[in-house]
């Protein structure tokens, strides 16, 4: 039975020949799913019809643990949610409990927190940028990014002894003051780091192959982004000028002069993978600006004076959100007046950002799913909690 392609297509259109959709499982062990995530891809040929994510392979039920712990004991668990941005996770949780108890922080604590949170943001974005490049097939920028991230982890290690999971920001203060020579270390790092951004731009971001693979791919329109609750670089990549550090101010971000970076569709359409990626690159520069300004006016003082002896927040509830490198990290804490939280709910940015993947993947090829997933920048530890 020999038929031409046209004849076959005619048969399909007329319903004489049945075609079928193919289901392909991507993950849970797949290098580009950044952990243990399984994407069930429904395919029509090589085009994606539907993406069904299956989560939970890393589920530890953080929220159940939190109910069995005292308030300070929960902090190490927040480290282990978004393990690439543990400082920011500590910050959000500490802030929620402080607001519940009405604690005023010493100036020095606020400054150290902002510097640490911004250093962590750079470290986290470096991983995102490096691994995104690697997903697309560019290996060298990954090494550049991880080299510089190592300097930041060294600074953290000198201050609090840990490289990834710090338990550093406590309710009302910090676990340690910064180490001797901290300011010099951070200044040296920024000086060394700024040229790296240009290197990564030259090597990766304005590379023609990279642009071909990411521009016009996975375009996320503004209304879809807002309806799906996307936040952070996902939302700003779609051109929305919204950053919690400025629009729902916390800590002392309002004292510094910095810009919110938004995607402009330079390489293709506003809200494509390239825009999301570039927002992260530009944000690293802004973080450097914030850190430099904070170092200028870095005050002396005692960091332990506001740490309460007994942490028992009054009855009540609060929803606090901070800008994590991936977006809005919220903690909904209910206190019943005892030493353990009654309920802690963590609203992770990766969890919410990932839910939009089906919407922005339809019609793309399988290889583009890798680019889209990389540009969402997920951390499975926080999706599954």
């Amino acid at each position: 039975m020999s038929q031409t392609l046209e004849a076959l297509q005619e048969d399909i259109a007329a319903g004489r020949l049945k075609t079928d959709e193919l289901v392909l499982n991507m993950g849970p062990q797949h290098p580009s799913t950044h952990g243990v995530l399984r994407l069930e891809l429904v395919l029509d040929g090589e085009a994606v019809v539907k993406v069904i994510p299956h989560l939970g392979y890393l589920h530890r039920c953080f929220e159940k643990h939190a109910e069995a712990m005292t308030y300070p004991q929960v902090i190490p668990y927040t480290d282990r949610m978004d393990y690439l941005a543990a400082m920011n996770n500590n910050h959000g949780y500490a802030l929620a409990i402080e607001r519940l108890m009405g604690i005023e922080l010493p100036e020095r604590v606020e400054y150290i927190r902002v510097i640490m949170a911004e250093l962590q943001r750079i470290a986290s974005h470096l991983v995102a940028i490096g691994t995104f490049g690697m997903d697309i097939g560019a290996f060298t920028p990954f090494l550049y990014c991880f080299r510089d991230r190592e300097y930041i982890l060294d600074i953290f290690e000198r201050t609090c002894g840990a490289r990834l999971l710090y338990n550093y920001m406590w309710v009302g203060g910090l676990s340690h003051d910064v180490h001797d020579g901290f300011e010099k270390d951070v200044r040296d790092f920024i000086k060394r780091f700024r040229p790296t951004i240009k290197e990564v731009n030259d090597l990766l971001n304005y590379n023609k192959i990279f642009i071909e693979r990411t521009a016009n791919i996975g375009v996320l329109p503004v209304d879809v982004a807002v309806s799906y609750g996307c936040s952070g670089p996902m939302l700003r990549g779609s051109g929305v000028d919204f950053d919690l550090r400025r629009d729902d101010p916390y800590s002392i971000y309002d004292r510094f002069d910095w810009q919110v970076c938004v995607g402009k569709g330079e390489a293709g359409t506003v809200g494509d993978c390239w825009d999301r990626h570039m927002v992260r690159v530009w944000e690293m520069e802004q973080s450097c600006n914030i850190i430099e300004q904070a170092l200028e006016t870095f005050p002396p003082g005692d960091i332990t004076e506001a740490i309460p002896k007994r942490i028992r927040p009054p009855k009540g509830e609060i929803y606090t959100r901070v800008e994590n490198p991936r977006g809005e990290l919220g903690y909904y804490v209910i206190s019943d007046g005892s030493a353990n939280p009654f309920r802690v709910k963590a609203r992770g940015p990766s969890f919410v950002n990932l839910s939009v993947i089906d919407e922005i993947s339809r019609g793309h090829l399988i290889a583009d799913i890798v680019a889209i997933l990389g540009s969402i920048d997920i951390v499975l530890g926080e999706i599954d909690r």
Binding site: E63, S227, Y319, Y332, I334, K345, E359, D384
Partner: protein
């Protein structure tokens, strides 16, 4: 809109509903079978425009009731509102808002999985974090850790 104005506006918009003023974020209590309608109004009312659902949390209040708490935010006006739904534990049915704010899809699946609130009208109400064949809802206050899972002893 400041908190006071918003409070008055809500009182005019929903005369039948119970309103609370917690510190600086207003809160309204909505019956479980009206949340979809109220959600649409909150989202589309020109003065409110609460177009972003920041967080949806299921809560076991440990007094025979379960709750769903919606934290809303307006991207344009930059104001917030908390909405609460309380249902009895024997009949934990709440209307879905999955088609009002699309982000509620996964959040509701999570609340169903961990707390056991059933969202009527949800198009795909499956477990999300626990395995699909898991029994019970772990965040219930009376939850007991199972000894066996699929015939395997759970070391705990």
């Amino acid at each position: 809109m400041n908190t006071k104005d918003m409070f008055d506006h809500l009182a005019a918009l929903f005369p039948d509903l119970e309103l609370q003023l917690d510190e600086d974020v207003p809160c309204i209590i909505v019956p479980p079978d009206a949340i979809r309608e109220v959600g649409l109004q909150l989202r589309d009312d020109e003065q409110l425009l609460l177009d972003s659902l920041m967080c949806l949390s299921g809560v076991d209040f440990a007094d025979g009731t379960l709750g769903v708490v919606y934290h809303l935010h307006s991207m344009l006006h930059n104001h917030k509102l908390t909405v609460k739904v309380v249902v009895p534990v024997e009949n934990p049915h709440v209307q879905t808002v999955e088609r009002v704010w699309r982000t509620a899809d996964w959040h509701e699946r999570e609340a169903y999985d961990l707390i056991g609130v059933i969202f009527d009208g949800h198009r795909d109400l499956r477990r999300i974090l626990n395995p699909y064949d898991w029994e019970g809802h772990p965040l219930r206050k009376d939850y007991e850790v199972p000894e066996f899972y699929n015939g395997m002893k759970v070391p705990y």
